[in-house]
């Protein structure tokens, strides 16, 4: 049980007067999956992953399955590919909406009922054994869209209904009392996959605790995807912008499901597979929090002889990463400083476990 208790990131913000002078981030304990997986058949491990990672079970299973299939030179057909992409998208929507509640609407009982309704619809879609996207799935998606409307989410552009709890929350974040200084942002994308996988296999767990791309630590997740897809100028970069990106993405993905979940119109790079040599492969999956990587090596009997993984949280909560860039040099008013930092953390990942401490230091 100690592992679950330690599955938290420790964040310490040092303040000089009201200015953030430094942010120290201590990573959480990584579950020793490599040791657990070594010598076992992949089929056994696919059942283990949902027990551990309830938030992103489909993404974890798909990443492992895709890496193992590629290592074995197995080819999947178009219908299976479509089904897997749809599962990842459904899980991503559920996770994005859960994050809206956990991070922003926890006190709103009506929102909880609407999100429960969405979750029921999502569970039905996730549990569907039908690989093809048929009328039952379309009807379920229409019910989900109706529940989103109750939450004030009815516009694919990401605007929320005026006066709704979400609109009020965005307004509150805009006035959160955190004045950030401009920072240079970069975003993780499918173009980075091979570079990351190479580092994953060369440096293993050492790289995963503190990953970088040629010294840069890009952001991953809904806002990063929006910035990359729409080629927007990354400014401003506060909690409200990340919340708007989360809402816009949930609506856009629902529209894709409603339109039939077609591969040709799917987001680029949701599931990517990379053959790296005999019995060696990797996969990347774009889940709610960002890009997830699994790499495997198989022995001649087809058992896993090596397993490496890298979660999106390791980028967003890196000691030189997006959280630090968002807070470094910011002015925090004393009365609301904890709320303001909580909001930035929640904007990167509403469901991450963390402890937050403040330390007063001399003038910077």
């Amino acid at each position: 049980m100690s592992l679950a208790a330690q599955n938290k990131i420790d964040v310490t913000v040092s303040l000089a007067a009201d200015v953030v002078a430094a942010i120290e981030i201590l990573p959480r304990v990584r579950p020793p999956l490599a040791r657990l997986f070594a010598g076992k058949q992949a089929s056994l491990l696919l059942k283990v992953l949902p027990r551990l990672f309830a938030l992103c079970a489909a993404a974890q299973q798909t990443a492992l399955l895709s890496a193992v299939e590629t290592a074995r030179d197995e080819v999947i057909n178009r219908t299976t590919k479509q089904h897997r992409i749809a599962l990842i998208v459904i899980e991503r929507i559920a996770d994005l909406l859960r994050g809206l509640f956990v991070g922003h609407l926890a006190q709103d009982i009506a929102s909880a009922a609407a999100i429960r309704s969405v979750m029921r619809g999502m569970s039905g879609l996730l549990g569907s054994a039908q690989p093809a996207w048929g009328s039952a799935q379309r009807e379920a998606t229409a019910r989900i869209v109706a529940a989103l409307n109750v939450l004030g989410m009815s516009n694919e552009g990401g605007a929320v209904r005026s006066g709704s709890p979400l609109a009020l929350r965005i307004a509150a974040l805009d006035e959160s009392g955190l004045k950030s200084i401009p920072a240079e942002h970069s975003f993780l994308s499918v173009a980075d996959d091979l570079n990351i996988i190479k580092r994953l296999l060369v440096d293993g767990a050492k790289f995963c605790y503190c990953p970088d791309l040629d010294g840069h630590v890009p952001e991953t997740g809904p806002w990063a995807r929006q910035m990359t897809r729409d080629r927007l100028s990354p400014s401003p970069s506060g909690a409200a912008e990340r919340l708007r990106a989360r809402i816009a993405e949930a609506l856009r993905l629902c529209a894709w499901l409603k339109a039939g979940a077609q591969i040709d119109s799917a987001e680029h790079g949701i599931i990517e597979r990379y053959k790296l040599g005999p019995g060696r492969a990797a996969a990347a999956v774009e889940c709610a929090r960002g890009r997830l990587y699994h790499a495997v090596e198989l022995d001649p009997q087809g058992r896993i002889s090596r397993f490496e993984f890298l979660a999106p949280t390791e980028w967003n909560f890196h000691p030189r990463g997006p959280l630090v860039r968002s807070l470094q040099g910011a002015v925090l008013t004393a009365r609301r400083r904890r709320d303001a930092v909580d909001a930035v953390i929640a904007s990167l990942d509403p469901c991450v476990g963390f402890t937050l401490n403040f330390r007063e230091v001399g003038d910077a």
Binding site: M1, N7, P31, P32, C210, C351
Partner: protein, 77 residues
Amino acid sequence: MCLSVPAKIAKILPNDMAIVSIDGISLEISIALVDELEVGDCVLVHVGYALAKIDPTEAKRTLELLQELGSAGERRS
């Protein structure tokens, strides 16, 4: 890599809250995101929220798996 933990509901509280027991430790959590829970049900808990109802056998297996992983975990200094 956010781990969720199995817990048993010990008491239902007002406002979609509940007391759960996680490996013998009592904790107050939100059950707002899961329908129709009762005392004795097992749920997966993450950052103070019940994510899903699970059957007791699955809860036991998951606890055993977490204990196995926990005994081999390490923290980067």
